[in-house]
């Protein structure tokens, strides 16, 4: 029973959503609408799961004094402070509360804009450096395919910025880098990605079918 009920729920939820797609009957739509609202609530809980997991991993690290437990402490403390700012229920003090609110001007919002935003932004901007280094040390014309790839890449890299426009200024329009770039994007790039899109769609559909029919059960976890 520990497997049959979830599989039955999966089947029913899935089949209903399929019917909802093809049948516009108002009773189906009305039920479908409420079901979709349920979906958002349950999915919200699955996000809570991830955050709970994070707390568990870091508290374990601190409890066992594993290497780097100090960093775990930093992580959990800042989290607690920010949660207090953002969710403290007793703090609806005035028209613009600084605590217990997520609105603009609150402490919570300040922490987000001045800590989360720069940290996230900077983390990914590191990649510009790494790409430059890899461009020099690893991107090679090692085969005809790789060569074709790099040539197309170089055209696009130059043609997509104002510099490319400047470099081929005065040439006939259809020989300029911006035109070539747009042509690459609109024709071969479009065609190849359309092929990939269709193939990927089939993969997703096959997976969906297996899940709804209960052939695919790996998401339920290992034990019987």
């Amino acid at each position: 029973m520990r497997r049959e009920i979830p599989l039955a729920i999966t089947f029913l939820a899935g089949m209903f959503m399929l019917v909802d797609f093809f049948v516009p009957h108002h009773r189906v739509s009305a039920a479908g609408e409420e079901l979709k609202q349920w979906g958002t609530i349950v999915i919200a809980a699955s996000i809570l799961l991830g955050i709970g997991n994070l707390i568990r991993v870091h508290s374990k690290k601190i409890a066992r004094r594993q290497s780097g437990w100090g960093f775990s402490l930093v992580c959990l403390s800042v989290m607690a402070v920010m949660l207090w700012f953002g969710m403290w229920p007793g703090a609806k003090l005035g028209p613009n509360p600084l605590v217990g609110s997520i609105a603009q001007g609150s402490y919570f919002n300040w922490m987000y804009l001045n800590m989360d935003v720069p940290l996230q932004g900077t983390m990914f901007s590191l990649l510009a450096f790494f790409i430059a280094s890899a461009a020099y040390r690893a991107f090679r014309l090692r085969s005809p395919e790789a060569s074709l790839l790099l040539i197309s890449a170089i055209v696009v890299m130059l043609g997509r910025v104002p510099l490319g426009q400047l470099l081929t200024k005065g040439l006939p329009e259809k020989a300029t880098l911006p035109w070539l770039t747009e042509a690459i994007m609109t024709y071969p790039n479009m065609a190849a990605f359309r092929g990939i899109l269709m193939g990927a769609a089939l993969g997703v559909m096959a997976m969906g079918l297996r899940i709804i029919l209960g052939i695919e059960r790996s998401y339920l976890g290992g034990e019987k």
Partner: protein, 227 residues
């Protein structure tokens, strides 16, 4: 020193909290960049901060923007003149089951919630991909204009149709890539490589843009060096 003063007080009219904020943001930015020299405790400190702030933000906004309006208000505090949506108890129970994962004895109940979510997503994705990425793309390929736009455009459009077919053949696994199938697959890989080249160029562009964004912050908003 006008500039030095501005560094610590901001442009005229800037509230102190904003100046503070910019300083915090600036120092955290540098802490992350220190990774470029090598992995170090300052970087790891900033990284832990990143994880903590991120999780707290997510939890709070989930509470305020999803759980309160969708679950708590309809169940416990319905707006005046509106009935209690008692049937929201069901997703509430499923949501609670989901959290039972943390209790090994009861974690099997979380599969009910998982089953619900996974089944729904599976169906929604199936129809979405079928309509948007399969049928709509077939339609668009079949109706590619081949009679207007001038010789070059017609040729390029025709080439694009051939490209779609060749790419599909490249990802065909039920036959060896020999003979005509092999030739078509070969053509397919060329199309793929040109497309990946475009992707490469665009990815480089994206990463560089992110760096430009951070540098604009450092040089303008923090250090006031840009006009």
């Amino acid at each position: 020193m006008n500039w030095l003063q501005e560094l610590f007080t901001g442009a005229p009219g800037t509230p102190p909290s904003a100046v503070w904020g910019t300083w915090v943001a600036g120092l955290l930015t540098l802490a992350i960049y220190s990774f470029l020299y090598k992995d170090n405790p300052v970087y790891r400190f900033a990284e832990s901060l990143f994880v903590g702030v991120g999780a707290a933000y997510w939890l709070a906004i989930l509470y305020h923007n999803t759980l309160v309006p969708k679950l708590f208000v309809p169940l416990f505090f319905p707006p005046e003149g509106q009935p209690v949506l008692w049937y929201r108890v069901f997703p509430g129970v499923l949501a609670a089951f989901m959290l039972l994962r943390f209790f090994p004895k009861l974690s099997w109940l979380s599969r009910w919630s998982l089953g619900f979510v996974v089944g729904m997503y599976a169906a929604v994705n199936t129809t979405g991909f079928a309509q948007g990425d399969l049928v709509a793309q077939i339609h668009a390929t079949v109706t590619t204009p081949l009679t207007s736009g001038g010789g070059l455009v017609i040729a390029l459009n025709a080439a694009a149709i051939v490209g779609v077919i060749a790419t599909l053949i490249y990802f065909f696994f039920s036959k060896e890539h020999r003979g005509p199938v092999g030739a078509a697959a070969r053509l397919g890989i060329w199309f793929l490589m040109v497309a990946f080249g475009a992707s490469f160029g665009y990815t480089v562009m994206g990463r560089v843009s992110l760096l430009i964004g951070r540098m604009t912050f450092l040089l303008r908003d923090w250090l006031h060096l840009m006009q």
